[in-house]
């Protein structure tokens, strides 16, 4: 397995290089640049903007800019933010914990809710639970996060006062952390939960028709044991793939959730950086998310083996 992991990681290098080139081209495609954001300020003259543009190295040809960036990246220098002149690594690292916290909490909530829902609806013959599942998952997938988020804030923070209107815990005490985390994590989890529940539901239905389940039942095993040890363990495999794929979705979901809930994470950093054409920060943040996706998929693949020893990694 170790060899497999190393090989996968090595294989990721050209992939990441290609991604970096594509991102670089894409973020430079729209007209306008970082200095233009400040034009229109009555005290910033066009001459000031031209000088800043030159200082930031924006007058170099694009291939030169890309190679400079790549050279820096390889040696650990991700450049400096156009916005405040600080190193990109520092800018990203100080925002990363908040985003990871939010993503982990959402993933956990999504799974904890989706597994029982998926199993329950798959094993009941009645139609009603399935209808309810359909409605809930359709809502989760189709209602935009910014709307759900605003409604949650309006009702639970504005009217009822149960949760803060936004922001992350300052004290760091567990209860306070949860108090601040619960609403954004639930809102972000809602979409994932809907997807997970549908997958578990259909996966369970499929597995329940397999011969080995019938055998297990015929042996007279406790139905509960059959359900959880035999059926769910097998039904969980596609869900693990889904978990790996969920990382980029959570990441992009965080863009919106973090803005609505004033959550000081990477999502907001990216939103601000896109509007401000802050290329170094954008490159850094996107490369980080690309790495997270690569790792997410790798972890998912390795987890297959843990869930199902039949899966072998060619060595």
């Amino acid at each position: 397995v170790a060899v497999y992991i190393v090989r996968r990681l090595l294989g990721a290098i050209p992939l990441l290089l290609g991604i970096s080139l594509i991102i670089f081209v894409l973020i430079h495609l729209p007209p306008g640049g970082p200095a233009d954001i400040y034009a229109g300020s009555p005290t910033a003259s066009a001459a000031d903007l031209a000088r800043i543009q030159e200082n930031l190295g924006l007058n170099d040809p694009l291939p030169v800019q890309y190679l400079k960036w790549l050279g820096g990246m390889v040696t650990g220098n991700w450049g400096n933010s156009y916005r405040d002149g600080r190193p990109v690594t520092q800018t990203i690292l100080e925002r990363l914990p908040a985003t990871l916290e939010l993503m982990a909490a959402s993933l956990l909530i999504a799974l904890v809710l989706a597994i029982p829902i998926g199993i329950y609806t798959a094993t009941r013959a009645q139609r009603l639970p399935r209808y309810v599942l359909n409605v809930v998952t359709m809502l989760g997938i189709s209602v935009p996060t910014f709307w759900t988020g605003l409604m949650v804030i309006l009702i639970f923070a504005g009217r009822l006062g149960w949760i803060p209107t936004g922001g992350r815990s300052r004290s760091g005490e567990l209860l306070d952390v949860l108090h601040h985390l619960i609403a954004p994590a639930l809102v972000l989890a809602f979409v994932s939960m809907a997807g997970f529940a549908r997958y578990i539901h259909s996966s369970m239905i499929e597995v329940m028709q397999e011969d080995y389940i019938r055998t297990a039942r015929a042996k007279g095993l406790n139905p509960r044991t059959v359900l959880l040890r035999h059926a769910f363990r097998n039904a969980a495999i596609p869900v693990i793939t889904l978990l790996g794929l969920e990382v980029p979705r959570l990441f992009s979901g965080a863009l919106v959730t973090e803005v609505v809930f004033s959550w000081p994470g990477i999502g907001r950093l990216i939103t601000e950086s896109i509007l401000g054409r802050n290329y170094p920060v954008l490159m850094g943040a996107f490369m980080l998310s690309a790495v997270m996706v690569v790792i997410g998929n790798l972890v998912a693949d390795v987890c297959y083996g843990l869930v199902n020893p039949q899966i072998r990694y060619d060595e």
Binding site: I37, S41, N55, V259
Partner: protein, 562 residues
């Protein structure tokens, strides 16, 4: 309810604020406001109404202590007064750093770190307008105890004049021939040409501590993020990225004031969430509220809503060298065809005034030209006929086979702007002009303007309080000359006005300037911007000021009731 809330809206006819073009309104695209407004009947106060008396609660005098929370939709880029390009950056740094003079709501320079504002009367300005001498206060210390001296002023000039420093603004630096610290508390600037407007240069941005920055790289210094050494009424405590900036009371402040123990800038990137925070009372102040939220905030019992006309307006920017729009009659026709009153009444809830001059309404040189082009579709059609544009079968005019189609740039993501350009589109269709709207982001928009690679655009311009700020837009040699309008007479008026110290003489030139530019319809002005600032009633001493770069001009006089 209506009369009660009406009383809380104070109208100030003051001046302007340095701020960013898109800062305040960019995030207003998706909003719950209409939904909430439907539940709460919205009283609307006319900005033109006579000013209500401010709540006279100052009977007890300022109290030391307490906390103040200011909600901000933006996060500063830097707390270095010369590097920040955002209003919120200037707001926070103004609590920590101080400029030589500041601008009061009437537009006058009053002393800050200077002992007095230089004038010809007190000998600070030479008769030939070539020399400006600032006498500095001798009782000021930096937050680390080091005395503030003329060397700090000289250092600030020299550091910012360095072209490698990414200073956002160096207005007036091109005038400076030399600077000299005559003694510890006197600094003299010699200019390379006479200027009547040099006070602007040192009137907004703070003086930096030489002993801190002389060994730092100005572009990347950690002091830009943690400005622990200033002279202001408040001292820096912390900046938690994406969440808050906190300052505390400077107990050794050299003048009376600086009463509040702790001021927090809370960064909340959604205007809807900010609105909820006003409703729950979590924030004490919120500046530059978007128009569609104003009726809701007016219904909140705990807040006073200040409405202050700014030195800024929304307008249609025209490329005056465009083949179609280069014809003055076409520009005049479009102006006649635009029902500004309808726009301000519907989209802007009648909270603002229609505008028709290159000069913003609070300026002391402003002349009301709203009557020059009344809404008159017939007159508009007649002007287009005269210019050779004949009505076609589908109602769109054409001339020599070319249809009257205009490409209009608009910044996406702001529902107010979109509603306005769509209304205008419908109005201009009525007179036979077809307008195609291109929705672009701010950077794309500005790039098109800067390269003069556009035909027509809906945008926003802000100006410095001194009318010399209009040069940037109408002087044909200025880099910000997006209008492509070349008129030697206008150039002469604008340049002459720079060297005239007497206000009445200067005003006469700017009146001629407005006359010519309005007649030429170089832009189609829509409405004068109004800043709506909500302040909780327990906060005392707040005086909105759009003349200064920020509302923080008198922050040392603010205090909160216990």
């Amino acid at each position: 309810m209506a009369s009660q809330t009406q009383n809380k809206t104070q109208t100030h006819h003051l001046s302007r604020r340095t701020f960013l073009k898109w800062g305040g309104t960019a995030a207003g695209a998706l909003t719950l406001a209409p939904l909430i407004a439907a539940c709460a009947p919205a009283p609307v106060a006319a900005p033109g109404a006579p000013a209500e008396p401010a709540p006279a609660a100052e009977t007890t005098g300022p109290r030391t202590g307490g906390e103040l929370v200011i909600g901000s939709i933006q996060e500063p880029d830097s707390l270095n007064p010369w590097l920040t390009g955002l209003t919120v950056g200037l707001e926070v740094e103004a609590l920590i750093y101080e400029s030589l003079t500041r601008v009061d709501p009437a537009g006058n320079h009053v002393p800050m770190l200077a002992a007095e504002a230089p004038t010809r009367e007190n000998g600070g300005v030479s008769e030939d307008l070539f020399t400006y001498t600032y006498r500095l206060r001798d009782d000021v210390t930096w937050h680390d105890g080091t005395p503030f001296t003329a060397a700090d002023v000289v250092f600030t000039y020299e550091a910012i004049a360095n072209p490698e420093v990414n200073a956002r603004s160096r207005i007036g630096f091109e005038l400076i021939e030399s600077v000299e610290a005559v003694d510890d508390h006197t600094v003299t600037f010699r200019l390379n040409q006479p200027s009547a407007v040099f006070l602007e240069t040192w009137g907004y941005r703070g003086i930096l501590p030489a002993h801190i920055f002389e060994n730092e790289d100005m572009n990347t210094s950690e002091y830009n993020r943690a400005p622990t050494v200033g002279t202001g009424p408040y001292k820096f405590v912390e900046w938690v990225s994406g969440d808050r900036i906190v300052v505390e009371r400077n107990e050794d402040y050299y003048r009376e004031g600086g009463y509040i123990d702790r001021i927090e800038y809370r960064i909340v990137p959604s205007s809807d969430t900010l609105l909820t925070m006003l409703e729950t009372g979590e924030i004490d102040m919120r500046f530059a509220i978007i128009a569609e939220q104003v009726p809701i905030v007016q219904g909140l019992g705990d807040y006073t809503l200040h409405a202050t006309p700014a030195h800024a307006y929304f307008h249609f920017t025209i490329n005056n060298a465009d083949p179609i729009l280069g014809d003055r009659r076409v520009r005049q026709a479009l102006t006649h065809g635009l029902n500004k009153q309808l726009i301000t009444e519907t989209v802007l809830f009648d909270l603002v005034q229609p505008h028709g001059s290159p000069v913003a309404q609070p300026s002391w040189v402003y002349v009301d030209h709203n009557d020059r082009y009344p809404f008159d579709p017939d007159q508009a059609r007649a002007l287009l006929e005269e210019a050779g544009w004949q009505e076609g079968s589908d109602g769109i005019r054409s001339r020599d086979g070319e249809r009257l189609v205009l490409d209009l740039l608009n910044i996406a993501g702001d529902s107010e702007r979109l509603q306005i350009v769509q209304l205008a589109q419908a109005m201009w269709r009525e007179i036979g002009a077809e307008v195609n709207i291109s929705q672009v982001d701010a950077a794309t928009f500005v790039a098109a303007m800067t390269e003069q690679n556009y035909q027509f655009a809906y945008g926003f311009w802000g100006f410095s309080v001194d009318p010399s700020g209009y040069n940037e837009r109408w002087l044909s040699t200025s880099p910000g000359h997006w209008l492509n309008y070349d008129n030697p007479e206008v150039d002469r008026l604008l340049l002459d006005a720079l060297a005239i110290p007497d206000r009445d003489e200067r005003r006469a030139l700017y009146e001629q300037f407005q006359e010519i530019v309005v007649e030429d319809a170089t832009n189609i002005w829509v409405y004068n911007r109004v800043f709506f600032d909500a302040v909780k009633q327990r906060v005392q001493g707040f005086v909105p000021n759009t003349s200064n770069s920020t509302n923080m001009w008198n922050a040392h006089e603010w205090w909160v009731e216990g």
